[in-house]
């Protein structure tokens, strides 16, 4: 079941179209990555889902029905541009934000205590916000985003501003939240985290959804025709044995072993490739190359931009 669906969202600002017919569907209990270059419209989409701005057209469905004003209590949103009141004390501020999410003061206090202990930041309680570093403030913001235990969590660039250690802590917390049953939608530029965490992705470019799906399917789709062949022997012989249906994309040579990436076109298969090279080389390994999300991201965006510049 999809916990969150946006249908044909369109949003126009005075001089440009920020979102053009964007539809996504976030299945319950998954981690959903929203990718895209800067200015593609990710933040606008997240703001619309959080009812901060409204769409010009299209609709948002949440928890199986059209979105309602009260749904905001069941959503935790960490915005991209996040700040805190500099003059307030950490504890006081966290309680304020938790109460705005609908928690009572004692309940907020209890849950904050739990989270502060978990992240080992109890010592910050009486500090002023202005004394915290950016990463420290981000931790506080993360805590208050999840404090009301929402069913749907939305993070806009959750890892920006964190050092690798803290980014890892936050990543593990997000995965743990998913295990506890929450659904997570987040936008990021960090492709490594997408591969590690995401079940589904959507790629938004130039206000449009240009790629959506389960991460494994997406990677299969973009990697099905390149194979990595590892062998002992002469690279020249191997390349001479290839017919017009194959293309040597790249190769590396290390300690007498050659790794060659070979692209197979639609008229051939990986088995036929193997038949061709077995007579000329001693095969050590053969596997399909599944491109990293980073490669797919760059490839898809560049291709899209190329085709749409002409039109």
């Amino acid at each position: 079941m999809d916990i969150l669906i946006t249908r044909n969202i369109e949003k126009r600002f005075s001089n440009h179209l920020a979102l053009d017919d964007v539809s996504i569907a976030v299945p319950q209990g998954t981690i959903y990555g929203l990718l895209g270059p800067n200015g593609a419209g990710k933040t606008t989409l997240l703001r619309i889902i959080n009812q901060i701005t409204g769409p010009d057209r299209g609709e948002v469905h949440c928890f199986g029905r059209p979105m309602q004003a009260n749904d905001i209590y069941s959503i935790g949103y960490l915005p991209e541009e996040r700040g805190l009141y500099k003059k307030m004390k950490v504890g006081e501020h966290a309680i304020y934000l938790a109460r705005l999410k609908g928690l009572s003061r004692p309940e907020a206090l209890k849950r904050l205590k739990f989270w502060f202990e978990k992240l080992e930041i109890q010592g910050w309680w009486n500090k002023k916000i202005e004394e915290l570093s950016k990463g420290m403030a981000q931790k506080i913001q993360f805590v208050v985003t999840v404090i009301h235990e929402p069913k749907l969590l939305i993070f806009d660039e959750p890892f920006s501003g964190f050092d690798p250690i803290n980014a890892n802590i936050i990543k593990n917390e997000i995965i743990e939240l998913k295990k506890k049953g929450a659904t997570i939608l987040f936008s990021t530029h960090n492709m490594g985290s997408v591969e590690e965490m995401c079940d589904y992705i959507t790629l938004i470019n130039k206000s449009k959804n240009i790629l959506s799906g389960h991460i494994d399917q997406v990677r299969q789709q973009y990697g099905s025709n390149v194979f990595e062949l590892t062998f002992k022997g002469d690279l020249r012989k191997v390349s001479e044995s290839l017919t017009a249906n194959y293309e040597l994309v790249s190769h590396t040579e290390e300690m007498g072993q050659v790794k060659a990436n070979i692209k197979v076109n639609e008229y051939s298969t990986d088995n036929r490739l193997l038949n061709l090279v077995i007579p000329v080389a001693e095969i050590i390994g053969f596997r399909q190359v599944i491109p990293s999300m980073n490669d797919i991201f760059i490839q898809v965006v560049q291709e899209y931009n190329k085709t749409h510049r002409q039109s």
């Binding site: 005075s14 703001r47 959080n50 901060i52 701005t53 409204g54 769409p55 010009d56 905001i72 949103y77 960490l78 915005p79 991209e80 541009e81 996040r82 700040g83 805190l84 009141y85 500099k86 003059k87 307030m88 304020y96 934000l97 109460r99 705005l100 999410k101 609908g102 913001q141 208050v144």
Partner: protein, 448 residues
Amino acid sequence: MSKIFLVLEREFLTRVRKKSFIIMTILAPLLFAGLMVVPMIIATMDDTKERSIAVIDDSGLFKNKITETEYLKFVYLDGVTVSDIQSTFSESGYYAVLYIGSMVANTPDAVILYSDKQPSMDITSHISSAIKNEIETQKLKTYDIENLDDILKSIKTNVRVRTIKWSKDGEAKESSSELVFGLAYILSFLVYMLIFMFGSQVMRGVIEEKTSRVVEVIVSSVKPFQLMMGKILGIAAVSLLQIVIWLILTFGLVSAAGSIFLDSSKKVVAQKETVTNLMEQAGVAQTVTEAADQPSFANEMMTALSNINFVLIIGGFIFFFIGGYLLYAAMFAAVGSAVDSEADTQQLILPVTIPLILAIVVMVSGLKSPDGSLTFWFSIIPFTSPIIMITRLPYGVPTWELALSAALLVISFVAITWLAAKIYRVGILLYGKKHTWKEMWKWIKYKN
């Protein structure tokens, strides 16, 4: 609604805990009270240093004729010129040298006062009136009127206009136009200042939230309108608390100082009585006792003060201040939402401040003619009514005008708040650019 209250609570508590709030709350009444009490104290204190002034009288008319006071003596020098005394002036011990030219009766600027200090206004006006009186007497004498001195004494009069107001039910109340004028002036200026002060606090708060990016975090759980309203109402609560403390402290301080002051003025009255007794024995009692029959100025002020409807004025003051504040605060919030720093507000703020400044200009003429048509219209139009209605209030305002003005104020702040919220909602999420009123007008028309 409960979210507006949460925002309100935070705004109120963080502001009230600030040192600047506590200092302002305590210092301002001291300042107000000082402004009221110090002139009273100065008025009771006379200049007590004895000064002597050398007189060089070329006209020969004034020898021993210039009236002396307890602290001002005149020494008449013969056969000395101004230049003679100038060289030795610093050792002579004189406060000043008064030169009276020979043609003084016909040329008004023939009298010159030389000194190495700037002589006080008291001294110059004392001298000029003394010389003027003397010349007038001299001139009168040339008409050869019999018993001139007696006639002059008997025609000396002193006139002060008392004002008594008839209310509709035929009651006559002692009033004081000076007092009403002062009250109207101070209160309407105060409304102007407070609207400006607390309005720009709203604006600064919005800019602070925007530049620190808290606003994004807050609007994920609160509607922008709730955030704006919470802030405006929170600051309104701060301002009310401050005004109430100011009122109580100022009244307390003034009445404490006033009781000390009144004690000393009673002594003066007692002194006068003994003088009267002495004069009665001397047989010149008549005129003086007549004078004593008139109510003393201080007493008159007290009755006029007690006849002012303070409940109406303070109630009206608080209502029109809050109404005006709410009207302007929403506009200040809209302006704050459209900029990234306070430095950028100057152009945008102009349309907001012009009506306020206009109101202050109209107030000055309103003080002269509180029932004039200009004053009337500006006291009805919502953007200036908070100030101008307060100007008129101490003079008395018909109930229907008060009700009309109040109703229009309420309607317009609801409308303005609604419009400002539309601008605010868009503005707070747009960074990095200074926006114009034209763009803000477009934001008003955005659907969501």
